[in-house]
Symmetry: C2
Subunit: 108 residues, 2 copies
């Protein structure tokens, strides 16, 4: 084909459900801490996020989705144990009810 295929990217999908005890300010602190990670960890190629608005009722209590893109698995291997990622975990931990993480290489 004369066209270049789109470059495959490694997606890292992270879902959170917060404890009922978490206040809006505490949830915002977690959101802001996650949003700050791309400025601290250069291996994050991009980040987008948002809060659930599905009408289907199949979110199993998860309210927050963070969608991280890495160029490759080497970047993820830097990210996961990175001190700034670990520090984020300390902000998150006290307020977290449950988490789900699924990663995939993009296909069309």
């Amino acid at each position: 084909s004369p066209q270049n295929p789109p470059k495959k990217m490694l997606r890292h999908v992270v879902l959170f459900k917060f404890k009922d005890s978490a206040t809006p300010a505490q949830v915002k602190e977690v959101e802001d801490a996650f949003r700050a990670l791309p400025s601290k960890i250069k291996e994050i190629k991009s980040l987008e996020w948002g809060t659930n608005n599905s009408p289907e009722g199949l979110a199993q209590g998860f309210t927050h989705a963070f969608f991280v893109t890495f160029e490759n698995e080497a970047a993820r291997e830097v990210y996961l144990p990175h001190p700034d990622h670990k520090a984020f975990g300390k902000v998150l931990g006290p307020h977290l009810d449950k988490v789900l993480v699924i990663d995939y290489w993009t296909q069309e």
Copy 2:
């Protein structure tokens, strides 16, 4: 700012765990049926998908992620009850152990 902000998009994240009884051929039939949806439902702006390769062990058994983009909620309202979406559900249903759906408007 002189720059246009990126356009907000409505993301629709769908995770599947298949029954242990589902054969590779049956799983592929479901994958192919989902991949065919953008050609049938014009309200799907884009689709990417992949299978879990997270080393974290937090996927709660989900193996497949399908990542659908809509321009807006009106497009989603066409998609959800669309006959071709319902037909996909009939392909999926016999092999599905569990499903999770979370939608969000993109933020940075």
